[in-house]
Assembly symmetry: C2
Homo-oligomer: 151 residues x 2
Amino acid sequence: MISKACKYGIRAVIFVASKKTEGLKFNIKQIAREVDAPEAFTAKILQFLNKNHVITSLKGPYGGFFIEDYQLDQPIINIVNAIDGMSVFKECGLGLKQCSSVYPCPMHDQYKIARDALLNTFQKTSIRQLAEQLNEGGFYINNQNVLAENI
Amino acid sequence: MISKACKYGIRAVIFVASKKTEGLKFNIKQIAREVDAPEAFTAKILQFLNKNHVITSLKGPYGGFFIEDYQLDQPIINIVNAIDGMSVFKECGLGLKQCSSVYPCPMHDQYKIARDALLNTFQKTSIRQLAEQLNEGGFYINNQNVLAENI
DNA sequence: TTCAAAAAAGACAATTTTATCTTTTATAAA
DNA sequence: TTTATAAAAGATAAAATTGTCTTTTTTGAA
Ligand code: FES
Ligand code: FES
């Protein structure tokens, strides 16, 4: 569906956003631990999201990653778009070189509806919304609740 | 979303099904050409689908791939399941180790709806249906209609 | 029974994605 | 100004997916 890199990225951003407090920043080690993601890989992803202005970083001591006010109301699709691009939401479900209603594959009509619904989900959901849900409780962005027997 | 292997597989199966006539079989070369898929790779995929009883093959001269009556009413999900498995339809949209309403990620409620809709699309659509649509015209399983300028 | 055609099987290669490690650069505080 | 800290950048490495090529097996017809 979407890449692991993208999923790590979304979880990391939600975590940072959920902890947004004046001046508070988080370093890679903390973030990776909190969202159960490989540290070095997450570093690359966040570095890239910073370049794409999804989140913000500051080097040096007392530095780290944080999210600015103007970044908090971005839809989640911004993160997906930055990392994976929009191709999943444009591609033909049967792999034709282009999805089009003029030259549709036999699944086009049904597939497009489901694909658009998924796109809509990512478009209408903001970073702020997910961060708030996380803070309200009952939602998780790591596996630390999962019982050993279920892994 | 789903793998390229799976998409090649679906297109190949639809093609074979659309040409189903008593005793008529198609070899890899014909099938790969008709669905714009790499020949050797498609061979592996069809070989696998035969093992999984999605289609049927016969070796030797006058052999090839064909689909039997009892195989024609399978839902497309059977092909997806054989090649990719069902994990896409079970996985957490944010990559948690398990998707569950007991320990949901902040996107769970919305994501699950879209993911289930996609699953439903693959479940309710049969090989026969897609093959018939193809035969009725206006639908395509290759790129041979695509204008060079659009590639 | 021989032969040619076709899939099956197996080995291997290329590409993409995921992941790690090392070095460099920026920065804030002492 | 020095120092410690943290991200950025760059170089690799591992794994998964996609793709190809060669050899073997099956099979129908001549
Ligand atoms: S053409 Fe296949 S999904 Fe649109
Ligand atoms: S827990 Fe994330 S989608 Fe269900």
